[in-house]
Symmetry: C2
Subunit: 214 residues, 2 copies
């Protein structure tokens, strides 16, 4: 998480610029809805100049999607291993850490989150399989933690629940007016509560009713 800020010290290379703008444009208008000339214009060069950096338009999307999926999976695995290496690791705290990490990603890299579940089918077979595998492994990391916390939850229900919580956490990019929502930290805290509430309700319906906290 602190590494994220540190990596931004140096000026972004041209490749990174291109990927950044391509992600934004793809998220806004869809992969097929953006032309290479537009991507070039967004970074100050024009059209075919992109081919000095990428073998083709497909390759940009592929690199974006593989990158996202790897970052998510690596982050998830890192948190699991941190929790395991810490003596007092608890499933509760670990699930919170996973949720926290995913929320950071959803709030800070909105175009990528959008692309991640929207443009997967535009990839060539080999890339799509690779991304699918990374996504599946990321889900399995969550499923493992959720089932450690709620042993009574059947595996297929846990998987559906994890998918549903992803949908919940990834919902912010779809908000029409981003200025109409609470600040970043308040939104993050709210999403975190919602996710925990959903997980709690997955196993125990009685927790789905509001109770007096006092």
């Amino acid at each position: 998480m602190s590494t994220h800020a540190a990596a931004r010290v140096a000026a972004p290379t041209r490749r990174e610029q291109i990927l950044r703008e391509a992600a934004r444009l793809f998220a806004e208008r869809g992969f097929h809805g953006v032309g290479v000339d537009e991507i070039g214009a967004a970074v100050g060069i024009s059209g075919p100049g992109l081919y000095r950096h990428f073998p083709g338009k497909d390759a940009m999307l592929a690199e974006l999607l593989v990158g996202i999926s790897e970052r998510l999976l690596d982050g998830g695995r890192l948190r699991v291993s941190e929790d395991a290496s810490r003596g007092d690791g608890s499933p509760e705290a670990l699930l919170d850490a996973l949720i926290e990490g995913h929320i950071d990603f959803a709030l800070d890299d909105r175009p990528l989150i959008t692309l991640h579940d929207r443009e997967l089918d535009r990839l060539r077979d080999t890339d799509r399989k690779r991304v699918r595998r990374l996504q599946r492994e990321y889900v399995e990391v969550w499923v493992g933690v959720v089932r450690a916390l709620y042993p009574g939850l059947p595996e297929n229900e846990a998987r559906v629940t994890v998918h549903a919580v992803f949908g919940l956490l990834n919902s912010t990019p779809h908000l029409a007016r981003p200025e109409a929502r609470p600040g970043r930290e308040a939104t993050a805290a709210l999403l975190h509560r919602l996710a925990r509430g959903a997980f709690a309700a997955a196993v125990d319906p009685s927790r789905a009713v509001v109770v007096d906290p006092s």
Copy 2:
């Protein structure tokens, strides 16, 4: 003009066939990723024959998105008015009814749900504004019910929560292997629990204004 009555029960009309297949294809490969020839082939005619039924490819997408949005909004409003006309209407039961209706939609019309939040930006300005308005009104229906049930929840947090729950309920189309999840009714019940759990958790426990459960 053909007979209206005959089309009610009998085989779907050609227009409906086209819309159905177009929805499936658009959801699978994106609006720009599907050609008119493919849509035609999917209903047994070929290419330009579609123009006997629609003025253009855009019009198919527009009719699909407007139709979805209207169906959702009408369903929501219907349930609210039913609840109001029933003497014993309670926000609890009303929210359950809204959730139920949305789940039915998400499970039974998966391509439409996918299109609904994915291809909106491919519409012409006038159609897009119309769909946006319908979607916004649908959200407001939910927000009203949620705030009636949880008066302590601020309006902007309620709105984010409703969006998040939509993301949760709409997550099933993204499941890679639909056969790996529980049956329809079990999935519906699970999603219902998750949604209720998320709403219950929306109210920050430390700030909760608790309504008398009598």
